[in-house]
């Protein structure tokens, strides 16, 4: 390896150390500090009280479990919609594939906040959906659509759909059509061809897509804040409130440490999957 290569590697290592490893060491340290009225708002003595509160106060436990539940359900829903979409794109004529894929990815480039905001206008009591349903006579009273867990699921599926479709498409596109023809020639019905050949061969895409949706969703803040109700309990919202409303930096650091601990396994799984993908 030449000098130039070594220098550029060193620069990147330095950057990773400074902005990735060091911050997490500091978060860990401050999670053991005591909140106080000062600048910055924490100080000694070191204490485990924040963690004791995390375990002891049912609110935090319920928020962690609520986040995992919402992330799990919405990942499953995103897969249910994203898989057929990726499959249809991969089976489309070649000249259509790039355009269809672009159509799926394009909204991802527009503002996340704008996309979530758009749903407020559709879901609220005087929103378009209620307006249309009322004028059709389907409902007499406006439905409560906004500020529900359902709205949170919808928002997550909407915002994260491209992250599911892309890795799935990458897998399904590589699938050799000869395998499907062989199965059909041997008398397999379409449904069993799908279950026995397509689905197992696209497994790495399913794993990558699900993890890309699941991991960030567990800590999601914007979607539950804007679309969820007061009873939508998610840990990202709790961390935000501890930090910005209660000004309790050590507590929010402790919340982050435990959230990270919960996510370590999925993140490692994601990295292993990426490595396998790079080798293939």
């Amino acid at each position: 390896m030449n000098v130039q290569a070594k220098t550029s590697l060193f620069a990147v290592w330095l950057w990773i150390g400074l902005v990735l490893l060091l911050p997490f060491a500091i978060v860990l340290k401050i999670s053991f500090a005591t909140a106080q009225l000062s600048v910055p708002p924490y100080g000694p003595p070191l204490t485990g009280a924040n963690y004791a509160a995390l375990v002891g106060d049912g609110l935090y436990v319920r928020a962690y479990l609520g986040s995992l539940r919402i992330a799990l359900v919405s990942t499953a829903l995103t897969l249910l919609l994203g898989y057929p979409m990726a499959y249809a794109i991969a089976r489309a004529p070649v000249r259509w594939r790039q355009i269809l894929l672009l159509l799926v990815v394009l909204p991802f480039w527009t503002s996340f906040l704008v996309r979530i905001y758009a749903w407020i206008g559709l879901l609220r009591p005087t929103g378009l959906i209620n307006l249309v349903l009322e004028s059709l006579g389907v409902i007499a009273e406006p439905l409560r659509l906004l500020n529900t867990d359902g709205a949170v699921y919808l928002g997550i599926v909407y915002a994260y759909l491209p992250f599911m479709v892309l890795p799935l498409y990458a897998r399904l596109e590589k699938l050799d059509p000869a395998l499907l023809e062989a199965a059909a020639d041997l008398g397999a019905r379409p449904w069993s061809t799908f279950l026995k050949i397509t689905l197992p061969l696209s497994r790495p895409g399913v794993i990558a897509g699900c993890l890309l949706v699941f991991i960030p969703t567990v800590g999601e803040f914007v979607i539950p804040e804007l679309l969820g109700g007061p009873d939508t309990l998610m840990i990202g919202k709790v961390l935000w409130t501890e930090f910005f409303t209660n000004r309790n930096w050590p507590m929010s650091a402790a919340v982050a440490v435990i959230l990270l601990a919960v996510l370590v396994l999925p993140i490692m799984w994601f990295q292993a999957a990426q490595k396998e993908e790079a080798r293939a």
Partner: protein
Amino acid sequence: MIARVLLGVGLVFLYLPLLVVMGYSFNASRLVTVWTGFSTQWYGELFADRQILRAAGISFIVAVISASLATVLGTAAGYALARFGPFRGRSIFAGSLAVPLVMPEVITGLALLLLFVAAQSAMPWLPGRGIGTLIVAHASLTTAYVAVIVQARVSGMARDFEDAAADLGARPATVFVHITLPLIAPALVAGWLLAFVLSLDDLVIASFVSGPQSTTLPMVVFSSVRLGVSPKINALATILIALTFLMLAASAALARKRSK
């Protein structure tokens, strides 16, 4: 067949909300949902709003500088991953690069803020939270995205041209600048654009690391949206959507011109 129907449903699902927002931005009524006639008055009010204009300016500056920084660092990282072979610590290196891609934003935001606070208490001469911390935070996040894009491009590229230049006596730095960089230019453009858009759009990390004088556009939008739907935000959203699509169309046209 079912898959095709669902693809159609999915695409309508992706675009309908955006189209509705754009439509209502031209609505004369303040009630937002009731259509009373075509009007561009909300655009007028939007451009008279100094707070929004100021925030847009800050967001733009932060996005341009952080995207440029991320493109330099991300290119170095992506190139190293694709070309330097199995160097020591490669898998940790690749792993640390992938982490920001999936890390929940609240964790990244909090961690970077605590880093800045610690750095300032250790080095009191550093400037406080503001545009500088926003740039560093966004660059650290988007470097990973640029690296992934550049790595994909470099790995998929034959070494022939670089080897030929080296055989003819060009030094490694010359080869990189004159051969490699032009070949991976499309990846650099794509990486810069992605970093720019991600920075422009970030609410959570910016809320943690910005100072009182550096409120960004998403932060203004968020505090307004929390209070409900507003026709002015519809107009702003329409402009943002239109700008994104224009930018992507321009870069696609550029890429097509280059490949001819």
